[in-house]
């Protein structure tokens, strides 16, 4: 058993604690990168390319418009798919919470959708749709819709009845009820749903583009596989990883502003 560290009291103490935390976060990545670089000295580039080559390919992607356009296309598809799934899912959740019959009807269907693999939706989309964008949008929506619906439904059901009753006692219009009560109450769960689905969507979009697109990160990964270009495969993968990290950071920033009302305990869990 280890003893808990004493809380730093001076600004130098805080700086060193922050430095230690930063180091412990970065260290695993440094070790993995070091092992990769070490392996690149002994294996051919198509198996373990040098990190310098991967970095150069990343810069090349970001500075060449035609390649950057592929990254942006994928980002756009993820965001459009998530937005579509969220709007539809939130609407379904509202209907489900208002009507037991709708809930009883939709719940099993959404549960069934959750069991369908992403690749099956890709096949269905290719058969059902002609255009690339409708296909990918359909795949993105169908794979993230159940999670969004169930998460918003759960948030609506968990709303404090006492607070809803209090707001209702002022006789709000439906729009005001949504603005002053429902949206602020479910916002934490909505942001969590976006965070979870963002990761899922970035994985699904690659599969969708790999099979059914002529552009985007997934399509480019297919090209790298055919050329046996590991540096390119890594560089394209990193574009998606970086996007997910940036998007998660934006969501965390929104959380830090939107939830500043929350009490902070001096003793953490």
């Amino acid at each position: 058993m280890t003893m808990p560290e004493a809380a730093p009291t001076t600004s130098t103490g805080w700086a060193s604690a922050l430095g230690r935390r930063g180091l412990s976060y970065v260290m695993p990545f440094v070790v993995v990168a070091g092992l990769w670089q070490f392996a690149s000295l002994f294996f051919p580039p198509f198996l373990f390319p040098s990190l310098v080559d991967v970095f150069k390919r990343c810069i090349d992607i970001l500075t060449t418009w035609s390649q950057l356009a592929d990254v942006l296309a994928t980002v756009g598809r993820i965001l459009a798919g998530l937005a579509g799934a969220f709007i539809i899912g939130a609407s379904l959740a509202v209907l489900m919470v208002r009507s037991r019959a709708v809930n009883d009807f939709l719940s099993p269907i959404l549960t069934l959708f959750q069991g369908i693999p992403a690749l099956s939706w890709v096949v269905f989309a290719i058969i059902w749709f002609h255009g690339i964008e409708p296909r990918i949008f359909f795949i993105m929506v169908m794979t993230t819709l159940p999670a969004f619906t169930f998460q918003v439904l759960s948030a609506l059901q968990a709303m404090s009845r006492d607070l809803v009753e209090m707001v209702m006692s002022f006789r709000p219009t439906r729009a005001k009820l949504f603005r002053v009560m429902i949206i602020p109450a479910i916002l934490p769960d909505i942001l969590t749903a976006w965070k979870v689905n963002l990761g899922n969507a970035s994985r699904v979009v690659v599969v969708a583009e790999l099979v059914g697109a002529t552009g985007g990160v997934g399509y480019e990964l297919l090209q790298q596989q055919q050329l046996f270009d590991m540096a390119g495969a890594l560089a394209w993968t990193l574009q998606l990883v970086i996007f997910v990290l940036i998007a998660q950071a934006v969501l965390s920033f929104v959380e830090s502003i939107a939830f500043r009302y929350r009490a902070v305990s001096e003793r953490s869990l």
Binding site: D162, L163, E165, M166, V167, M168, S169, F170, R171, P172, T173, K176, V180, M181, P184, F259, Y261, R262, A263
Partner: protein
């Protein structure tokens, strides 16, 4: 002189929960007749679970009676729910403040529903917070306020809308004796000074005697056991007799 017309009227009102007529149905209110005139401060007293809050919810329009008629200002508060916007305010047992709003934003809530312009809304909310001794805490979130302060915010929220009817469901029961007594005195003064009609639900005899100018004691299921007029000038000896009457009614 003819008696004043009631502003709140319950005629043969019953409320049961569960399937009506079934053995499992629970009767909370049983053929209750109750009239409250304008400007009256009625203390509704009864044991826990006697149906006080159900009566409260029916007057507020949050629950529909199983049978009988509830009218407030001549209208049905459940069916004409929206027409009471700004005319009825409620102080609940708990403070029920929205945790994502500051004290002043919580007080502004009812005014937002009435589409009061933002500047006037803020001015009125600040006035009521200051009246209730919360100057300097306007921008505090509820978690940063004590229980007594939060309850003051909820009273300010009710008064800010300038509603004619105030419904209070044991609003001071969760507070300590000293804070509760101080807030009660403030509350009665505000009700009287502003000419409100108030229904004050309580299970405390002392609270009912301090607040009401009329005390209605309920039996279970809710129906009137005794109905006692009370005046500020009622001598202490008479108040003691009333207390004894209430205790006897509650024990029955």
């Amino acid at each position: 002189m003819t008696p004043a017309a009631p502003i709140i009227s319950l005629e043969q009102v019953s409320k049961s929960f569960g399937k009506s007529g079934a053995a499992s149905a629970y009767v909370a209110v049983d053929r209750l007749d109750l009239q409250i005139v304008r400007g009256q401060l009625l203390a509704l007293l009864g044991k826990t679970g006697c149906g006080k809050s159900t009566i409260f919810n029916m007057i507020a329009g949050l629950t529909e009676p199983t049978s009988g008629t509830v009218t407030v200002d001549g209208r049905n508060p459940f069916q004409d729910f929206d027409s009471f916007r700004g005319k009825m305010a409620i102080v609940f047992q708990g403070d029920r403040l929205l945790p994502w709003r500051t004290a002043v934003q919580n007080v502004e809530l009812g005014l937002e529903m009435l589409d009061v312009p933002a500047a006037e809304r803020r001015e009125r909310a600040l006035h009521w917070l200051a009246t209730l001794g919360l100057k300097g805490h306007e921008n505090d979130y509820p978690h940063a306020l004590s229980g007594g302060m939060r309850q003051r915010v909820s009273i300010a929220r009710a008064f800010a809308t300038d509603a004619n009817i105030l419904l209070c469901d044991e609003p001071f029961s969760a507070l300590d004796e000293m804070t509760g007594r101080a807030l009660r005195a403030e509350f009665v003064k505000l009700v009287r000074d502003n000419g409100k009609t108030a229904v004050f639900i309580t299970h405390s005899i002392n609270e009912a005697l301090e607040i009401g100018d009329r005390i209605v004691v309920l039996k279970r299921p809710a129906n009137i056991a005794i109905d006692l007029p009370l005046a500020a000038t009622t001598p202490p000896a008479e108040k003691e007799a009333i207390r004894h009457q209430i205790q006897t009614a509650l024990a029955a």
